[in-house]
């Protein structure tokens, strides 16, 4: 008796392993919400498919042709029915739209206190850099329960950063920054895929996301390859390229002072008002003449092709740091 139960449960266990999984793991703060909408949509799909199929089946049997010269009556038109099956689907669609859009709205806005990590897509690998300077390839370590914001760009073609277990996806586009945020809720290891076709080894451009407890994450960061922080690397590049010879900190140079410039709104020479964010700083480095400030000549050369996207990100990190550390670099 016991043996039979044992065998039975073994069998069930074996079947559970082999049966294909039907639902991806839900390991982020937004995953459950997305899944609820998904289940509602699945229910609506099944419901209407069932209604249409069963109606057709009933009609097929009930009104099958019984005699070759049969002439059915003309059932005419019915405005009431037409309006009913126009209005009901419209109401359902409006409801779905409101639900899906408000959820998307919430899911798209990162909480302000996010940890920032930088991602560069490149045929066919993911370069990841933490502000603390730790770099990884095709692996992303994040702490559980903390909002993480990714700032992403591509060195070549369009890629797409996709973590199914988090229900997040965003194109990674050359020449601009895109961003993505998530808050992992479950410690574990999850797939990271490139979801935009990018050439020969597109299917190999994948990696793993490691969600760790905050303590493990801190230990992992500390145990990483000893290197400079992104900001320090950025400062080195800044000095090596001679940026400081024009961008004097007292504002008397041929270029504007960069102290405290990050997250300010600046009026450009052409009258546009722009917020100085990561994308703005990147643009000022690779295409400087498109964002000239008033009172300054358009003489800065482009650095496109001289530094790669990773170095641009480090420069951006350095310029951002100048906002908060005004005093430290003062009088240099």
């Amino acid at each position: 008796m016991m043996g039979a139960i044992q065998t039975g449960s073994d069998f069930l266990f074996a079947a559970a392993i082999q049966a294909p999984q039907l639902r991806p793991e839900a390991a982020s703060s937004i995953a459950e919400g997305v899944d609820h909408l998904y289940f509602a949509l699945t229910f609506i799909t099944l419901f209407f498919t069932f209604i249409i199929f069963s109606t057709i089946l009933v009609f097929m049997v009930k009104y099958r042709r019984r005699a070759e010269n049969e002439r059915p009556p003309d059932t005419g038109e019915h405005l009431g029915l037409e309006l009913t099956w126009t209005i009901i689907p419209t109401l359902i669609c409006v409801g779905l739209f409101l639900w899906a859009s408000s959820l998307y709205f919430e899911n798209s806005r990162p909480p302000s206190a996010s940890t920032e990590i930088f991602v560069i897509g490149k045929q066919w690998m993911w370069h990841i850099q933490h502000p603390e300077g730790v770099r990884e390839i095709n692996e992303l370590h994040v702490p559980v329960g903390v909002p993480v914001k990714l700032t992403m760009t591509s060195e070549d073609v369009i890629h797409d950063f996709y973590i199914p277990a988090f229900r997040v996806k965003k194109d990674v586009i050359p020449g601009r920054y895109s961003s993505l945020w998530f808050q992992a809720t479950k410690i574990g290891t999850y797939h990271l895929f490139c979801a935009q076709y990018c050439g020969a080894d597109h299917a190999e451009m994948l990696g793993w996301v490691y969600v760790m407890s905050p303590a493990d994450y801190a230990a992992w960061l500390a145990g990483g390859v000893p290197s400079q922080t992104m900001q320090q690397s950025g400062e080195l590049i800044f000095n090596k390229l001679g940026c400081a010879s024009c961008h004097l900190s007292d504002g008397t140079g041929r270029g504007p002072s960069l102290l405290g410039i990050y997250s300010k709104e600046e009026e450009l020479k052409n009258g546009d008002k722009r917020l100085v964010d990561e994308a703005f700083i990147r643009q000022a480095i690779v295409n400087p003449n498109s964002v000239v400030l008033p009172k300054y000549p358009a003489i800065m050369p482009t650095f496109q092709g001289q530094i790669n996207e990773e170095q641009v990100l480090q420069l951006v990190a350095y310029v951002k740091s100048l906002a908060s550390e005004e005093r430290k670099t003062d009088g240099k």
Binding site: P24, F53, Y63, N107, I158, C194
Partner: protein
Amino acid sequence: MSTATIDVPEVPTGSRVNYLNAQYGVKSWLFTTDHKRIALLYLVSITLMFFIGGFFAVLMRLHLIEPQGALVQPETYNKLFTMHGVIMVFFFLVPSIPATLGNFLVPLMIGARDLAFPRLNLISWYIYVVGACFTLYAVISGGVDTGWTFYTPYSSSFSHTSVIPTAVGVFITGFSSILTGLNFVVTIHKMRAPGMTWFRLPLFIWAIYATSIIFILGTPVIAITLFLLALERLLHIGIFDPAIGGDPILFQHLFWFYSHPAVYIMILPGMGVMSELVTCFSRKRIFGYSFVAFSSLSIAIISFLVWGHHMFVTGQSIYAGLIFSVLSFLVAIPSAVKVFNWTATLYKGSISYDAPMLYALGFIGLFTMGGLTGLFLASLATDVHLNGTYFIVAHFHYIMVGGAVMAYLGGIHFWWPKITGRLYPDGWARFAALVIFVGFNLTFFPQFMLGYLGMPRRYAVYPAEFQVFNVMSSAGASILGIGYLIPLIYLTWSMRYGPAAGPNPWGAKGLEWTTPSPPPTENFEEIPVVTEDAYDYAESTVNRG
């Protein structure tokens, strides 16, 4: 058999002069301006393209039986899915129903002797063939690996394959679509028989009319987009490549501005065929004629305003996303209205299960599934997860293969006796419909599951946990492949050995059934005068002749 009201002498096919035996020889086909012969030229060419594209699909599904890839290198796999997409979309689905059944039926259904511009019609076919040759050259010269979507900057600056010949082929073929659409619009406006008012037109004509409008307004956009792509690739002028100041996302806007309406180019004519089949095989007037007719037009118009739903994850603004999302929900409603009206048409009908009707019922089922799964993708929050996965692949195959190809085959089976004057073996045809329905669902239903689990599309290799659904899908594909070969065999056989079909084997309404089968070159000895509405099955005796 009831008495024939149509006065056709009982002369065996072959001894009566018709469009097929009026002239013989290769020249008589290559220089014909008869819309019926041109329809057959298209039929042969697109069938060839369908089986080439299908062959690539079979190789892909075989390859994906194993997670590490069972058959080819990733580079080759990328070329297979690209060429499958390019050939099926531009050289089969877009011309399928309009260029074959549309060409054959538009003049016959409205009571005209030919299209408005018969020579333009022939040129359209030659343009199609020249375009197809360029694309086939691209296949032979090593293939192309950009995906049928040609996304920049991969296609403009990184791919080392035959992008330009392929783009030139698609560019050229576009003119065939534009000219065909123009021809249909003019014909439908100017050449209707006396008494054939707009609201007496068969719904197939309304659908072809709506399709023609998209042909004329949409195709020039894809033409200019591919032209710019070729310029960028050759001369590096900096339109799409960000490294030289271009915008890669601009390409996607331009591409989908055509390619989303193109989805409706593929499905609208199928919807038109459906209205003909459902009425004939239930002997009923269509339920809600004007609702079905105007839903075609509203689909054609709204289809131009939804392209941004392909780009929800490109980082387009949240507000743009909201607008495209609401419009995408909106375009679903006229499609739902059509499905409900077809179903209501069956009510109290006299339903028979001839082969064309089985394809029609298969269409309703698969199109319903395809349409409803579109709601997952119009919903912003779920689209983020499903975009770029196998869910998308499953969804659009339910529309384009489950919908458009089912309708196309249903239409071919319905009008085959009119086109060839011969009957095909009905048992085989019903069997093929069943095999295709089963094979199709087994191929594509598992792909919905794969997509939700997160398997991205266009993967030559994949993590092992996705294997079960992939094997199911591949098994389905082999059944589906056989399902498509069966009609090819018995239809070809019937052209020579099939029993002669009378003028109206289904007892169908519509002017095309008042002509002998096959029709004479001039279609009607005398231009008919129309006195009744379309699908007037209840009013007069039903005749099978």
